[in-house]
């Protein structure tokens, strides 16, 4: 052929086409390199979240109430979790079935070594170790720590690449929480209240023991409860710590009424009240809860408290008048959250005096038509043990980082003056009389002087109108020793059957728990 030069035209075209590929490579690999690297990394980077070790919850002496242990979970690609939080041997057994497809992961499981002890208080965590109730929920942000991350590379089916680049970003362990609770007092309180609930077939019961001077909550027992290790199988209603809910305190509130009246000067220790079987206020007939044996036509303030006479308390309320009464109640911090530590605490229900119904001035004197939380009541009574000043109840002693560094803590904190030191002293004596010669006799403790007050409140209808016939909330609140009180204790039993008097139902629990506490705390006996 004459025209062989034509093949060089071909070569030129070939070279130009190959150079176009080269130019394209420059464009892709040099100018747009970072774009493609980013896209490529986006699709093969796998981020595995590593749960942080959750902090422990311990009692005031460092006894473990809630901790975490290693367990093993099984994950199958495209199927999700097969099983979670098993012992190692059990997990390995399942994995043996399909060792290439099932991954074994170490996971922390929350463990409550004391089982039901302080269950409602501690609460529990979910499957991903997130706090769901109690202290676990209220202090989740401190307990949970910071999750770590393992950044690695995987193929489209999720399998880690051979020779994958692994970057471990360490998380942070959760903080440890020390409660003010004393495990031993807590245990005794739970044992005693449980016994009494059973005996009187009550719905529930609560015992709170507070350090009378500092406000530290030494025990917060609430029954029935659940085993937080198996919270799922428990009645869901039991998960809620009932201590944050308000209740109508009943006759224990007569103490507050009397203290306010003494502080306002509308009565004195010598004031005599009329002996009455009933009294009508705002069109409502108020009777005594039980027949009183009147020795005279007039009674003392002390007698009113000793015998828990409603008509007597009402007379004091009428002397006070709504405005003074209301302001006095507010000085005792009713209607304000104590913020003692648990999430969801109620403020109680204290209506402004201008919105009171006509009988309310009478009803409130003996603790009806008003709702308070157990913590508010304890805080109010701390005024009598602290020369008239209220101490704030608290549950969290301190929070420390995993390496033991102090993060935050609580100490005795005053929360306003309720009454003068003199009135506080007068109330102490009156309450001592209640235990020694009045309705609180069952609260007496050998070797210690005790002051206290019983309460038997009619249960409010669920609808909020009127009261349930034959249903009561029995209670007992008191402290000991009277001169220099160490503990304040509140016992509440909801709806006891058969006998329902606060004295009968709650008195023995108060006595046993306080007696144990005083001996346990090494308090010096003050009487024979």
């Amino acid at each position: 052929m004459q025209d062989r030069q034509r093949v060089y035209v071909l070569l030129l075209i070939f070279i130009l086409l190959l150079l176009s590929v080269l130019v394209r490579l420059i464009n892709l690999q040099i100018f747009n390199h970072s774009f493609y690297v980013g896209k490529s990394q986006d699709q093969h980077t796998r981020i595995i979240e590593l749960a942080a070790q959750r902090g422990d919850i311990v009692d005031r002496n460092g006894n473990i109430l809630s901790t975490s242990i290693d367990t093993y979970s099984l994950y199958k690609y495209k199927h999700g979790w097969l099983a979670r939080k098993l012992p190692l041997a059990e997990a390995e057994k399942i994995r043996e079935q399909e060792p290439l497809k099932i991954a074994l992961l170490k996971e922390k499981k929350r463990l409550y070594p004391k089982e039901r002890v302080a269950a409602q208080l501690l609460g529990f965590v979910g499957l991903d170790n997130q706090g769901l109730s109690g202290v676990e929920l209220s202090f989740d942000e401190y307990l949970c720590g910071k999750k770590g991350r393992l950044v690695t590379e995987g193929d489209p089916s999720g399998v880690e690449l051979y020779g994958a680049l692994r970057v471990l970003e360490a998380g942070e362990e959760g903080m440890n929480i020390t409660l003010t609770i004393d495990e031993n007092i807590q245990y005794v309180a739970e044992r005693e209240i449980e016994k009494q609930i059973k005996k009187y077939q009550a719905i529930s019961g609560t015992v709170i023991v507070m350090d009378a001077e500092t406000g530290e909550i030494l025990a917060l027992a609430s029954k029935p409860d659940f085993d937080p290790n198996a919270y799922k199988s428990a009645d869901k209603r039991l998960w809620h710590p009932r201590v944050v809910d308000p209740f109508e305190p009943g006759s224990t509130f007569k103490t507050i009424t009397t203290a306010i009246a003494l502080e306002e000067g509308v009565i004195s220790e010598e004031t005599m009240l009329e002996a009455k079987d009933s009294i009508t206020v705002g069109g409502r007939v108020i009777k005594n809860s039980h027949a009183i044996n009147w020795p005279d036509s007039r009674i003392t303030i002390s007698k009113m408290l000793e015998e828990s006479i409603n008509t007597g308390a009402v007379q004091i309320g009428l002397k006070l008048g709504p405005e003074k009464f209301y302001n006095g109640i507010k000085k005792f911090n009713f209607g304000s959250s104590t913020a003692f530590g648990l999430y969801g605490e109620s403020k109680g229900i204290v209506n402004h005096w201008q919105r009171w119904h006509k009988p309310d001035i009478a009803m409130i004197t003996f603790g009806q038509s008003i709702a308070v939380t157990p913590m508010q009541l304890l805080a109010a009574f701390s005024a009598f043990t602290n020369q008239g000043e209220i101490v704030k109840p608290f549950l969290i002693k301190k929070i420390e980082s995993c390496d033991g560094k102090f993060v935050k803590g609580n100490a005795r904190q005053l929360w306003g003056r309720a009454v003068s030191a003199k009135v506080a002293d007068q109330v102490k004596k009156l309450l001592q009389n209640v235990v020694e010669i009045g309705t609180g006799k069952l609260g007496r403790i050998t070797g210690f002087s005790v002051a206290g007050k019983t309460g038997t409140a009619q249960k409010a209808s669920p609808g909020g109108r009127g009261y349930l016939q034959g249903h009561y909330i029995a209670s007992f609140i008191g402290f000991a020793p009277v001169k220099d009180p160490k503990v304040i204790c509140l016992v509440i039993v909801d709806d006891p059957r058969g006998k329902y008097w606060g004295a009968t139902v709650c008195g023995p629990v108060f006595k046993d728990v306080v007696e144990y506490s005083l001996r346990y705390l090494n308090v010096k006996p003050d009487v024979l």
Partner: protein, 365 residues
């Protein structure tokens, strides 16, 4: 005509490319091979293909070109029969919806690879005999076009548009080299391009490929997936690459990672430097090949050499352009580098023939 040494520089470029191919298959295939249990599965097979390929190369080098010319018609007819066999159920094997393979005992054989070679052989013979007759459209060019068109039609039926285009373009190159009139050729080119466009719009999968080519990012998880994964591999390689063996895309992100898209993995692992080296080797390969054609002893050898070097270079160009997103996806392997049996053996056999041609040159003034 005179005896001379074979073109060792040409042979060197081929050896370099096959060596790079072997290394890249070694890097890119174990991810897939592990699914069958043996990470070296494909490497072992490829080594066998290379041994067969170099035997074929030696055979091509030693073959009597005169005899080859004489037998070219019958060789073509034989390969045409094989090509038709793939449509017979029981003989042909379907892979990914295409009937391209014939199952032999130990190797699947692709007749469409063979027909490229025999077509070139036949055309070289016919064009050499025709001489200046090619300038006559009705008596020269026309009948040849019918022949090429018929073969391309059979292959399109498989369906394998990529191979059909390769055959069509290679034939076009040979017609051009044989001295066909440029006016005629531009008519043919126009008809060819129009045909490709029509075919692209008349098949759903071809149309999807075309759309993916025009805007792959429109549907990155669907039709654009393949080309995007290829671009990610190439682009993330950068200047120096992630290092040999360090590809991420080979872990089942990029399909066909050691066959048609092996160049993408090469660019990811060896970077622009590696990619440019391969392009450079192909330029060198094409240059030496064209020189062999130019110096060939007679018209048949000249046309045969042009056809073979044109075919191999064109395949390389098409494959590279697909991988970097300059052409829509077609099923064409990268000569000497992609894993494959038939293609490797036939390309090395072609190299043998080219070396054979290089050993008998004409006098150039």
């Amino acid at each position: 005509m005179r005896k001379s040494k074979i073109d060792y520089l040409f042979l060197f470029s081929v050896l370099a490319l096959t060596a790079i191919g072997l290394i890249m298959i070694f890097s890119a295939s174990p991810t897939m091979a592990l699914k069958s249990g043996d990470p070296l599965y494909f490497i072992k097979r490829h080594i066998v293909y290379l041994l067969l390929g170099f035997s074929a190369l030696y055979f091509g080098l030693r073959i009597d070109l005169t005899k080859l010319k004489r037998w070219s018609i019958w060789i073509f007819v034989g390969s045409l029969v094989l090509l038709l066999l793939v449509f017979i159920p029981g003989v042909g094997r379907k892979v990914l919806g295409a009937s391209r393979w014939i199952d032999l005992v130990f190797i699947s054989f692709q007749p469409s690879e063979l027909i490229k070679l025999t077509m070139i052989l036949l055309l070289a013979n016919l064009l050499a005999k025709m001489g200046k007759g090619i300038t006559d459209f009705l008596k020269g060019l026309g009948p040849l076009l019918l022949l090429v068109g018929a073969v391309a039609a059979i292959i399109i039926k498989q369906p394998d548009l990529g191979t059909a285009i390769a055959i069509f373009s290679t034939s076009f190159i040979m017609l051009f080299a044989a001295g066909a009139k440029l006016f005629h050729l531009s008519l043919i080119a126009g008809v060819g391009v129009a045909g490709i466009i029509v075919l692209s719009f008349t098949s759903a999968y071809r149309f999807r490929r075309l759309v993916a080519y025009l805007d792959p990012w429109k549907d990155p998880q669907g039709i654009g997936f393949h080309i995007i994964q290829s671009l990610l591999a190439v682009g993330s390689g950068g200047l120096f690459g992630l290092g040999l063996g360090a590809s991420r895309q080979k872990f089942f992100y990029l399909p066909q990672q050691f066959t048609d898209f092996i160049f993408a993995i090469l660019c990811e692992e060896l970077g622009f430097i590696g990619g440019a080296a391969v392009i450079g080797l192909f330029i060198f390969f094409a240059g030496r090949g064209i020189r062999i054609a130019f110096l060939a002893r007679d018209d048949f050898s000249y046309l045969l050499a042009t056809g073979l070097i044109g075919w191999l270079t064109l395949q390389a160009i098409m494959n590279l352009m697909v991988v970097v997103g300059l052409l829509p996806t077609t099923g064409i392997p990268l000569p000497f580098i992609s894993y494959g049996g038939t293609a490797t053996i036939i390309s090395l056999f072609s190299v043998g023939i080219l070396l054979n041609i290089s050993s008998q040159t004409r006098k150039v003034n």
